[in-house]
Point group: C2
Chain length 499, copies 2
């Protein structure tokens, strides 16, 4: 028994925790650490209160909590005792280990994959060290940034407020796993009208993003060691997902006509292909019709699926966007992926997938195991945003705004870097990939950073190494003036050093 | 060449699709279906316009789209021709197959698991047919419904509006994968103050729900064939996730003191345990201190992890909730799961996990592969909701409201079913599990439905079959009057038939 508990207990009257909780917690620690022994009596509550300097009711509350959780036992007429027979560890434990715990095969594959990226790859090191550049007014050609001020926030607020105001119940229910029905209908209608997709709302599932879709499809369709046909250069995040599922990537080099279907080896065991037909990522350009038809026939012969990532198919600046590959599919071979992140705003975290009829049930079942669906409120607001015509109007604004920025970029390239870099002619998307023949890519990146321009390594997107020297310029987050100034600075890299 | 194209083209002037798109699409279908042959000339645009009955500019737009996509080719001075050498399929294709496609091992495991549930299990059939009951004023003791009107929607709207109004940029960025930093801090602070968790904000990751956490942990920690220790009865959705990852479930039957640690076989190969220490799901009751300490020591010996699902740890109606198991962990063995779905509202789709330091990096890396994080706007609003004291206040209101409902339920059970059913004494959570010794569970369910009461099969939650006859009553979505009336009707089931 303590003679004076003041040595062991410190009450912080300014702390955020209630006094009784502080007392409970410290007594508990004394018990757990073996500083007071099992079976030992505690001082009477009145005495404890006096020693610690709190009200007796506070002590009683603390003792109640300790008793309820089994740290102490009250014996009628005999007082309060530290619980007996608690299986306390014999020695003080060490600090929590921070070394990597033994992971599963999946976990080790992931760790090894990321480790290899960081150690083996100059571009990843460049990206990882990105923040260090000292130039204050750096112009960042980051990809995937959107120009925040274009979005009609006032309309968006009004739509959200509509549901926040009128329909509390919509917040109080779990949504449907496949998505909020009116949004699925709105998406189906939009895709049929504007993207040449052929589907019913039943085939549309609302997801949190393209990564979730790729993950579920990988689980459903890929066994360890399976082959996936991909484009090079291509969408790295998809590659990572396929690889972490244990798949092999068979990468075919794209050209002006996109994915070279005719180069698929006749004996390829692949039963999945991942392509970006509308605007090849990141090179640019549209997949030609003969290659599209041939790819669909390949899928039919192989009993394979094709994932069509239409990540920015709506953003084409010369004429109407090409219709989706999915619309040519008569056999239920194509899974179509679209996202609201680029055309609405990234923080929305909403995307959609159009599934062949045969895949709908397995996909929704898998999704149910993994998550309960996107927030209903946001889905309801987006559905209205589409159905009331705001989406079409917003897309037109985006095409104007981003089209201007792309023209500014191309003009700056022609002014400051004439003949120095190759890039796809098709005006689409939110970035341009520059091929810099005869340069050392890493040099360009570092020197550009010194000049106050942040550009992104093409090597990241190529499966085969070494890759042709190239850099990625995202233009969607920059003003036209910054775009011009950025390219002017970039030209300095070539002028000065002749890299 | 067509003599008259009117037979093949139908323009719908009332349709939602632009006229040029309708023309484009129908010409395209004629080409794809081989009704006009490769190399065939098209009528001049003026003639086409006349035949179809649209403006010439509309025809030119359609032809532009067809040309851009490669369906037709324009030869200077010679007119417009259907593209040659399109690899069209030789025969008309059949309708899209709707049979299950060849799935991966994961996919087949999932399908088999769900198939077995539906075919093998009376409770699942009962649930699947749930909607058929004809009684109009059915009282539904569904679990997981929340009482929508308790939530302070006005405050929530104000917080959302704060960010919708002032900070557009918050919508325009992808959030951090681990979560919005102020929310991670608010959650850490809340858990330390009120749940006896010991953690820094770095250990907190915001997730879309408990399922996402369990999925990522399963991937990181489980190989095919690994054993997971679970409670029976227990949380079925977690079981499904472990099983779909190929794990074996080793289920130990819980009693009044929760998970029976002492029954873990000495030679068990398990390196993962899933427990609900604060309020055992669905039986009720708190895990005793000796068992908690013994479980932590088991994890240390086995190099194992413990998942503590604190799904409703904040909802205790007699005294302060018991502190979390995580707070006893000195070795970094416990992963703590919490959710906002039950205490805020389900449609929010936000939950959190507190990870041991060693698991933070792999978990966040895996999450980055799968999704880009929860919507920033919602996270910001929830962070303020917590930090400004609304959350604590709301929890008190919830405890009052749900505590009253639980008391109403217990009172009704004492009035209408005295001595007929056993249930846990601890007043916590949003449901009560009734054990109905000597009854046939399925009979109770069906007869209750006939009486206009919907109750839920206990068998669903038990791993071993046959399970003790039991039913689950969720009370969080019902008024006190409905609760009393529901139990009165339920008593009729026993009175009349003596099941």
């Amino acid at each position: 028994m303590w003679r004076d508990i003041r040595e062991d207990i410190t009450i912080d009257r300014q702390g955020s925790q209630p006094l009784y909780w502080q007392l409970y917690w410290q007594l508990r620690q004394l018990i757990l650490q073996g500083k007071v022994l099992p079976g030992m009596p505690l001082p009477p509550s009145r005495q404890l209160a006096q020693q610690v300097g709190v009200a007796r009711v506070t002590v009683l509350q603390a003792l109640d909590q300790l008793a309820a959780e089994g740290y102490i036992a009250r014996k009628r007429g005999a007082g309060t005792f530290v619980a007996e027979s608690l299986p306390l560890p014999p020695v003080p434990r060490s600090a929590a280990p921070t070394a990597l715990p033994p992971l599963s095969e999946w976990g080790r594959r992931m760790a090894a994959m990321l480790e290899a990226d960081i150690n083996g790859s100059a571009p990843v090191r460049y990206l990882a060290r990105g923040g260090e550049t000292a130039v204050p007014d750096i112009i960042d050609f980051g990809f995937g940034r959107t120009f925040a001020h274009i979005f009609p926030y006032d309309i968006w607020r009004r739509l959200l407020a509509r549901y926040l105001g009128a329909d509390d119940i919509i917040l109080a229910r779990y949504g449907s796993v496949a998505g909020f029905a009116p949004l699925r209908e709105a998406v189906a209608d939009h895709l049929v009208r504007l993207r040449g997709v052929r589907c019913t709302p039943d085939q549309v599932v609302i997801v949190s993003g393209a990564q979730q879709t790729l993950d579920i499809l990988s689980r459903l369709l890929l066994n360890h060691g399976d082959t996936v046909l991909v484009e090079t250069p291509g969408y790295r995040d998809a590659f990572d997902l396929f690889r972490v599922h244990g798949a092999r990537l068979a990468a075919l080099p794209v050209d002006e006509e996109g994915f070279p279907t005719e180069q698929i080896p006749a004996n390829s065991p692949a039963r999945l292909a991942f392509v970006t037909p509308s605007n090849q990522f990141p090179r640019g350009g549209s997949m030609s019709l003969p290659r599209r038809l041939a790819l669909l026939q390949w899928a039919g012969r192989q009993d394979a699926f094709i994932i069509e990532d239409d990540y920015d198919g709506e953003l084409r600046y010369d004429g109407h966007p090409h219709a989706a590959l999915q619309g040519l599919d008569e056999d239920g071979r194509v899974v179509y992926l679209g996202t609201f992140s680029k055309v609405l705003f990234p923080a929305l975290r909403l995307a959609y997938v159009v599934l062949p009829p045969a895949l709908v049930t397995p996909f929704v079942q898998a999704k149910r195991l993994l998550d309960r669906g996107a927030p209903t409120l946001t889905q309801a607001a987006v559905a209205d945003f589409i159905q009331e015509g705001h989406f079409d109007r917003h897309l037109r604004h985006l095409r104007d705004a981003y089209g201007q920025r792309r023209r500014a970029l191309v003009q700056a390239l022609q002014t400051y870097l004439p003949g120095r870099a190759r890039y796809a002619a098709v005006a689409a998307g939110l970035h341009v990939m520059l091929y810099l023949d005869g340069c050392v890519e890493a040099d360009v990146l570092w020197r550009a950073a010194e000049q106050g321009v942040r550009v992104y390594p093409g090597a990241l997107y190529h499966v085969q190494q070494p890759s042709p020297p190239s850099i990625l310029l995202g233009f969607s987050g920059l003003s036209e003036a910054d775009i011009a100034e950025g390219i002017r600075r970039l030209a300095g890299v070539f002028g000065e050093s002749g890299v």
